[in-house]
Symmetry: D2
Subunit: 440 residues, 4 copies
């Protein structure tokens, strides 16, 4: 099978180990990912960001395929037992393709909405191991041990460390694909890095104990590695932590929190459809039922609530989301952050005075990510190797990564309806005559 | 407002005439387009093609903005009454943004599914003129005559021909955006053409009667114009007429035709949700109700039918679509096409013998488009102008377009379930031992 | 060796057969190509087009490497004697890298300047076979028969037709690289086509006699092939036949023709440096001396002549070229072309009346290329193959190529100094008040 | 005039102030830049990097044009006396186009070769003010004060600080163009940043004293600014400080230092052509004579010396450069750097023992650049402004730039002929059996 991908160009699954990918692609569980957008509500801020987890899953499998080809070309540096076998390849490809099948509607957001329900990793396991799922059946037909071993690998466990790291590690195939894809689709060009060059500069280094570990060529590959981490930083800064995305997420959480509350107040008259109602109730939901969920289930709720719900909060919030009348946000700087609890309390009062229920209309939103967390265990770290010098860890080899090591990117924002923005400006001692910049 | 678009880069709506665009963007009718994919089921063949009509509408408005800026810079060549006024700009931008608001779920496909229901152009008019719609309200607030004049312009009527042609013509802003966008998102690079250069090479020519007409500079612009038509040809060849897209469309049509039939057989027990049921019944549907439809309404049906329907055809077809087990196709060449009726009949028999209802499982699919249809009325044609020579129509100025003029791209295919592909190969006298190429 | 190429990205020469490429790269003859621009004086019209034949030679070798890898992956469809051997690979790579080493300064233009001197193909042979050349020595060290067999292959002769065609044929590696490179460097985006996709869609077809021939997959590859021919058409239209490039070429020819004439008039006082003087005299020049020539030899002449020459024509033409005060051109349409001899005569009179020597200041420039010349011998044609249908030649498989087959793109222009442009406009019956468009 | 640039796409000089650009383009001094490569010998490491200072000068003028358009659209925030006048525009565009006309062959390298000769900035002034130069004449025709005021501005002096900074400052048009152009041409994609977005996010801030200063919008522009500085860092790391480029530069310096020495030893028999000989002698050279120099003057020397020189050093070094047999390099880490003088001494001994003159065959090469040097004077700093918060300097607004502030990128390398690389490895205590990685 060959197909066209806008990010990677020609994507081919034609090697013997890749037959399994072709068979897995048409399973219900993988096809469901077409109906789950990768970036949840981010398309409210970046109109291009409408791509699904399906396209990403195919991309991740493709990156795995490129990675495995690179490993094969390094095989002279590996002992026979370290080299990638056909089984390793199948396993790696299946894990790359299937790592996301447990994601719910709107991706990460779903988990935050149904807080007590199992996380997507748990659902991924459940679907992989459920004898009724298509993916389990296809894996089992290839090799009865595959469902269990794919499940292990998806969670980062494998006896060959290079394979475990490729599925779940600093540069795993998941990240490699999503940074490029999210960058391409949003049009935020800062998320680009040179994947072919990065793969090509992978080398094998030996730890003191003689174990083979992945390393990167210091002459050729260091900029590619730095580019990867900067791409990550830029994508967080520009896209994942964008104030309009975060505002939409806060609103979706408020909205569904309200629906869950209504269900608890009136158990017989839940505004939620059955599977969501069960998740809200923390009733057991079968993998099959879970796999019936997709983005449209949530959007159908929102559409119905904004026109039909008797609950004014549900109706109003749903309407704001549909019309993209998003919460405004005020960023708190370090000084403000120190008195965040007081500020939130003051915001809640402002919101209440304006006639909104602060439980749903006022939020203190914190987003934070590590920029470069070097493994503290030497055997886990990524090494940079040189032709005639001893290898070094990334933070010692790279000026930039040395600077970023252990640093975090954090944004803190108060969020509230546009109706109270002047009061919030006054609260924060900011000039109310200036309009807050309105992100798209 | 400025925003990032992956196709056009920086998109700004900041000129006085563009304030209206910003206000229209957040109407329910425009926001609904986020939930309608531009290319319907094409993403089954091109995983990247998941973009919505919303992103396209914004892009079309942006192209209109660029076009109007070019017209302003040509204004010394126009008489005062021919120049773009502020009102023209508002009108043109609104028409570009709103031209698609009447599109149903899965875009063009929807009309083919509910054959008797009004076409999307009718719905666009209905929504523009419906006093209850958000867009009508916003337009009316700006100028009470705008709803009617936008409606006129969307259908290609305006006293300034250059404006009418920009909304609905050979190079209209709709085509300019969708060719670039569909190309970018599918990864089919052949759909690119040089939009900035094309706009920049626009000139004003004068007809014999002295009317100002748009023309293109022969020295600088001819390749850009040729590029545009070739982009169109390639996109039809590679994407719009792709066999997997067409197969999915045939299946969706079969599926909903079956649902409509079931409803007619058991009026009290329609498998369709209310608004679709009304459309199927040819009952009047209000613009507001129509505007509640989006892709998820159809996908929700498909998901429900494949797991719950009692009708085996509905259940089976829905399941095939969900698993992407698409109909296979056999292309007919000119010779085969001559005996298409017999072939279809034979196919129907094969399909029936295999236990499928040929009404839903056998189709003869014809797709056809003109490659370059030069206006036969001189005043409607596009002219190419030169510094010291008389202008010429495109087909005379361009070797390539002279060749393509009046030509059509046509594909004819039999479509059928994969279970009968060997029998179909035998029917067509083709070697059954070769597997039909399986498109993604 | 891996290196970065702006067109192809990562270029690696690391397979066993590619060691020879690395050794050939640092020969004097290949390094000389750094000082010969691919597009001669085209950078006077397209400022970006300053790339050398060296970068192109590396690119051509890279395309050959990709092509050979594709052939290897098709090897199951080839008999053992048809498959690419290590020797074939070395040969093909060397031929791709070295095919241009005979090019003189300003590439093709040089041959037109020194009309009686050997053509670049002859110099390529001379350098390949000259025991004193670095390339001959390196080839000989690898295999004493290589200089002769590379020379054969460069001229299109090899017992395996697929290899001969890859070096010199419709889609040879030379064209594949230069179309992409010239497009990238000029910024004329129409010259792009999808090389990876084109290579990937190559197949093996069998002629009636059982011979293996290259074919292209009709489902996947036809658009890529069409894109290739259109890229060619666009590049000719926009770049290679651009009026400013052609004008600069006419002027360079006039200038050196004058220098040659002066040398013939005053043999003891040639304005030409020794090697050029010998070529002008048709005296034998050794390959080594020829290989001392590069673009700077010509530019040094031009610079010296414009400031120092006593000959007013040499001085004036050199100065015009240096200041980019290029000849103007008037395109002749088909009607004008019929009376081209009279027009040229009239132009010569106009030029003479204005005080210029028409021998050097008036020209009738014709540029022409075939758009798609399908081989008339079936065994030479390119085939398109299908899964269950008989293969077809390109012109039958492709609507576009069917239209372009046998067609030519031809431009005819009168060229003259800007001082007489009004008189020329009057001559051609064109409005003199309009200024001729001035290309950059 | 409109033209195609591969980096910026459509480049138009059509506004009234831009007529001067068109007239300056065809002066001898600007046309000479076509024969001076921007990156000197860097194309020995990056085959694509063959672009000239001419293409860069056009690009810088284009960026200035975009910048001026942005300033015009900000003019409501400026007092009448602060706004860009037509004269400012002409001045800015001329300065952008002409800022490099004083560059000698191989750009920066030339100054290092003829160490005592005036720097390129001095030559730029000399050419601007020389009544015999074309540029001076064209400027003078437009306004007799222009030569002097362009000269002032080129050196960063103007009463409107925003204009002075645009020509010579942190984000000047020179850097904006060359980072993008060098990145595009080398294929090192890390040098990209989002120029349109950066320009669009420029704002006017007011200092305490009320002066208008350029600032960048904190919400929209910060990533673009960070991208700019990272692009700079990556380009230094990957390209400008690349070991093969630096090695070639060291060799060119050695070569010409030898030629200068030979001339001093035998004044009557200089290997250098007259103008270079005069520069070497520190004799006065007229601007006109200086402007006769271009890259080919140096390459012609190299070509002649390698085949004809009697001096073995001149002959050998010239031959190595021509064959790209570059010096090898050994990078010194911080520890090594402490004992650099001893190491250099030891290297000189090794080189001498191998029969080479260490004066020309051994070097200690240090390359260093500041990554982000924030102005210490508040009025000079770049500010980031927010809608309701006080502006901040870049290092406080940006986590990344805060980290990079005051940091330097420094590489230190020993350079030597490949013949002694094993001895050097031993000297540095590095494993001699590993070959040093050989950059292309």
């Amino acid at each position: 099978m060959i197909l066209r991908d806008p990010i990677h160009g020609l994507v081919a699954f034609e090697r013997p180990s890749e037959e399994l990918v072709v068979r897995l692609l048409d399973t219900r569980e993988v096809q469901r990912l077409r109906r789950v957008r990768s970036l949840g509500v981010t398309s409210l801020a970046f109109p291009g960001a409408e791509h699904s987890r399906f396209a990403h899953a195919v991309g991740a499998a493709h990156v795995m395929s490129l990675f495995l080809q690179r490993m094969c070309s390094l095989s002279t540096e590996l002992s026979p037992s370290e080299r990638p076998s056909l089984e390793d390849e199948q396993l790696g490809l299946a894990a790359a393709l299937l790592h996301d099948i447990g994601h719910g509607p709107l991706s990460h957001l779903f988990e935050e909405v149904f807080v007590g329900a199992p996380k997507h990793e748990r659902w991924t396991s459940a679907l992989l191991l459920d004898p009724d799922s298509d993916v389990c059946r296809v894996l089992h037909e290839t090799d009865p041990s595959l469902p269990a071993s794919v499940n292990q690998l998806v969670h980062g466990h494998h006896s060959k460390p290079w394979l475990a790291h490729a599925v779940s590690g600093t540069f795993d195939v998941d990240r490699c694909d999503y940074l490029l894809r999210d960058s391409y689709m949003t049009g935020v060009r800062y998320g680009l890095f040179d994947l072919p060059w990065l793969l090509r500069s992978l080398r094998i280094a030996r730890s003191a104990g003689g174990d083979a570990t992945l390393a990167v060529d210091g002459t050729k590959g260091l900029s590619a590695v730095e580019g990867f981490f900067l791409a990550r930083l830029f994508m967080y800064q520009q896209v994942y932590f964008h104030k309009a995305s975060r505002a939409a997420e806060v609103m979706i959480r408020s909205l569904f929190a309200r629906a869950v509350e209504l269900q608890q107040m009136h158990p017989g008259d839940s505004p939620l459809p059955p599977v969501l109602a069960a998740l809200a109730n923390r009733t057991t939901v079968s993998p099959r039922d879970y796999a019936s969920l997709d983005d449209s289930v949530l959007w159908t709720c929102i559409d119905r609530w904004q026109s039909e719900s008797n609950d004014p909060i549900l109706r109003d919030l749903a309407g704001r989301i549909q019309r993209r009348s998003l919460f405004k946000s005020a960023a708190l700087d370090d000084e403000d952050a120190q008195r965040a609890p007081e500020l939130l309390e003051a915001l809640q009062k402002i919101v209440a005075d304006a006639g909104f229920d602060p439980k749903y209309y006022a939020a203190y939103d914190i987003a934070s990510t590590g920029l470069f967390d070097e493994a503290s265990v030497p055997s886990e770290a990524m090494y940079v190797c040189y032709s005639r010098r001893a290898p070094r860890v990334l933070s010692r080899a790279s000026l930039l990564l040395g600077k970023l090591r252990g640093e975090r990117l954090t944004t803190r924002r108060l969020m509230f309806p546009f109706e109270v923005r002047d009061q919030v400006a006054t609260l924060l001692g900011r000039s109310p005559q200036l309009s807050l910049a309105l992100p798209f």
